[in-house]
Symmetry: C2
Subunit: 567 residues, 2 copies
Amino acid sequence: MANAPVQRMSQLMAKTLRDDPADAEVLSHKLLVRAGYVRRTAAGIWSWLPLGKKVLSNIERIVREEMDAIGAQEVTLPALLPREPYEATGRWDEYGAELFRLQDRKGGDYLLGPTHEEIFTLLVKDQCSSYKDLPVILYQIQNKFRDEARPRAGILRGREFLMKDSYSFDTEDEGLAQSYALHRTAYQRVFERLGLDYRIVAATAGAMGGSKSEEFLAPAEAGEDTFADCPNCDFAANTEAVYQAVKPVDGSAVPAAEEIPTPDTPTIETLAASLGVPASATLKNLLVKVDGEIVAVGVPGDREVDMDKVEEHFGPTATVELVTEEDFAVRPDLVRGYVGPQGLEKVKYIADPRVAPGTAWITGANKDGMHAKNVVAGRDFEVEEYVDVVVVQEGDPCPKCGTGLKLDRAIEIGHIFQLGRKYADALKLDVLGQNGKPVRVTMGSYGIGVSRAVAALAEQTADEKGLCWPAEVAPADVHVVAAGKALQTELALEVSEKLSAAGLRVLVDDRAGVSPGVKFTDAELMGVPKILVAGRRSGEGVVELKDRRTGEREELTVDEALTRLTA
Amino acid sequence: MANAPVQRMSQLMAKTLRDDPADAEVLSHKLLVRAGYVRRTAAGIWSWLPLGKKVLSNIERIVREEMDAIGAQEVTLPALLPREPYEATGRWDEYGAELFRLQDRKGGDYLLGPTHEEIFTLLVKDQCSSYKDLPVILYQIQNKFRDEARPRAGILRGREFLMKDSYSFDTEDEGLAQSYALHRTAYQRVFERLGLDYRIVAATAGAMGGSKSEEFLAPAEAGEDTFADCPNCDFAANTEAVYQAVKPVDGSAVPAAEEIPTPDTPTIETLAASLGVPASATLKNLLVKVDGEIVAVGVPGDREVDMDKVEEHFGPTATVELVTEEDFAVRPDLVRGYVGPQGLEKVKYIADPRVAPGTAWITGANKDGMHAKNVVAGRDFEVEEYVDVVVVQEGDPCPKCGTGLKLDRAIEIGHIFQLGRKYADALKLDVLGQNGKPVRVTMGSYGIGVSRAVAALAEQTADEKGLCWPAEVAPADVHVVAAGKALQTELALEVSEKLSAAGLRVLVDDRAGVSPGVKFTDAELMGVPKILVAGRRSGEGVVELKDRRTGEREELTVDEALTRLTA
């Protein structure tokens, strides 16, 4: 391929701004707009200007190379998809308001693909008939659509965004594990090449169904995800995937349970204050309805229930709601504010692992204005199922080593799932096995947020002066600044051509009527790794070479600079 | 970039079919499906399998290189677009049922981009403030969406398809002409590199508005466009853009007009038969309503009116309808079947250039059962405006040299337009001019159908054995066939690795349990330019090299073959 032509700033569509855009909350949003990389077209919908497009294409290329390296085959499926396959797997409804739905001129139902599990499953069903045709990994790099309730944070959470999604198809669980491992390695290589600081953390499968799943997180203040990190061992997990073991204690010495009058204490705060005990000594029982059936969820009084974890526990098709006034009206045995697990009838009782057998609690006595103390799990009430449903807090014990966990914010840049047979079951994807009988196929699904990676990189690498790209993703290798008049511009253009001829990607600030100061500020804002300035000593053929990250600068002859940059 | 890994057929997602798909009407559709390049996902919506994706990417790369070469800057705008800008230019309504419209979760109106004039105009309005910021050419390569009434012909006319669209912005008409000329040259280079047989023909601007416009057409039986081609001079045009000059004749010797009773002759056929004259001696007057006003369109009785041309004449915002029973009811002066231009009142009369001043006609007398003869244009009636509105026929005179035109079918693969200021006017795109006053910007819009070019190439290059790609777009350089057992497979893989190491893109048919005959048939169907067979003489290190197009074959040692292929 021919060398890229020198890009002149005088012609470049990249208007820089001195001030942060009014609606920008996070660093990457501010800087990518200010440096002329992106522009907002509608809420959560972005246009990529030339510099942004170059960064995006660089990331695409790296992702493509690493996917090709694990033997994945690139395809392109449509964005506009028919309803039927998504109906068959239940996702047409499960996706709720996040799915963009539309009709064609004949009234047929379509959607804009949020991910493509269904269509890939059908494609493999069409293409593969025997175990000999598997394993196969297919990928595409394509715009996806999700109607986010609150698109925010610039391109970190858009409604149309560029994603690499891939899907693996195997006949055996071991094959799936291997396809998963291949992706894990490829993702590590991608994020290392991108120069991203990232962590691999355990994740629940979320709305995708299936079993094993990990997330690739880029720690950043602007991140919308929180993950727990053990400072002592290698445990790291999405907070939804942190769990505690059930550790029974000896409760035999606890006196018998006893009711105590506690008027006007319908909340944990009022109760703890009235009794002079910490909230952690009390047992809070949250009532929810799961597909219409009442379930009580017991957690220590100082902890919050994570409704996402509750929903996750009951699965993607269950409807989980808080109980209402009407529910209490038809169940007078449930006394609002004074519910306790002892003697509850027709209510499934699940509890946090901290409510382990033998632990004693102050909890509701199922009578208005009354609580009970010395209520012991396993003696005075039974826990039907232990489920970790509390919101994780900094300092919670590491499930592996017990050390207090750290909580950090991060951006999800990749996600790998062992889906299993959920989609193959729904769409009846079988191949003939070695024994001549049909075998149901098992699948994996894997994603990298390509446009989001641009923002994550911006977040992690920017400094107070602006963007600061790693070399392999930068929109150019060298940003040449003509700091002066005709003499400087002539030298800048001459050097640019030489650098281009040597195979470097060059951006040259040849703008007339723009001061050197503005050009320097723009160069630092735009974040190309090397800045070469044709300034005062241009007449002697001396230029200044500056490293954008370190700020180190040195004066060199043009030849020296060329040698240095092309080494 | 690293060499592409050898692609093994045993793992390739490309199931070949012996029979044409039942719904396939055109050659490219049949072959691209049979050779495993594409699969249908829904009506007019296609998935690109690995081989198809490679061809598509090759074309994309060529288009990108040639666009970069004219200084165009690549961007990526969203596919999901807000209604407002399209409302401002009128296209939200003008596009009719062809536009995919949808609502987001808040009820906001959106569309799936068919082309992006509006969004580019707004982008330039945001980015450019001075004449110094122009000219600029921006392009993107992206999926477009159009809800075709009858998606057919495979990927030739899909509802989601890959397009390169670009837009030029200039302050002066001469600048626009230059941006247009740059595109014309770039397109010529693209189509030449693709190895396409193409013609550049004059086109009307169609629904886009604006002035100068040309189409790039690839002659093919499967094409949906018809163009007129002069066998004598360089005239070539979309049939909608063929026009005739008005050539007045001397009608002074024609006797006075005279009414003649012609009972039961409400059609041209009945009239001509009854009088024993050719249909061409009669004048047919078609009544239409343009924005509610009645207009009569006069054409020779043997010609059909091209309603597209009529609509084009009155412009994209006009509503053109045929008159109805109700219209005749309120206008008793218009006698159905017996309308003539002489003495018509409150009716605008436009006519084909063939109804030139001085020509004499038999036409309706505006009385039931009566016609008139010797009715002379310019003497007995006035033509308010001459407009070429007839359907072009083979043999019509060339507007430039008068030779009879040939009509040919073709696929539209590119289109270049001088839009002018239509969009800039609607969206108020001005920049400051040299004199400090605002200047309205003038635009061009240019498209290449990238996915359609795949089909056009398939149509033009395929032979009875299958696809037959030009080298630069082929999914591989060499298709290596292991025609035998372990010995042949081993040699095939060894040669493949050597070719790959030499920088060639290699597909190797290493499938076990597939006969050499099936492999040969598949290789010819898939259409890679060179086929290298490890067959009977593999033991001696002798292979057969075959040219897919010419069928020429020769036996060579492996080293000779490598030298030949990498030369």
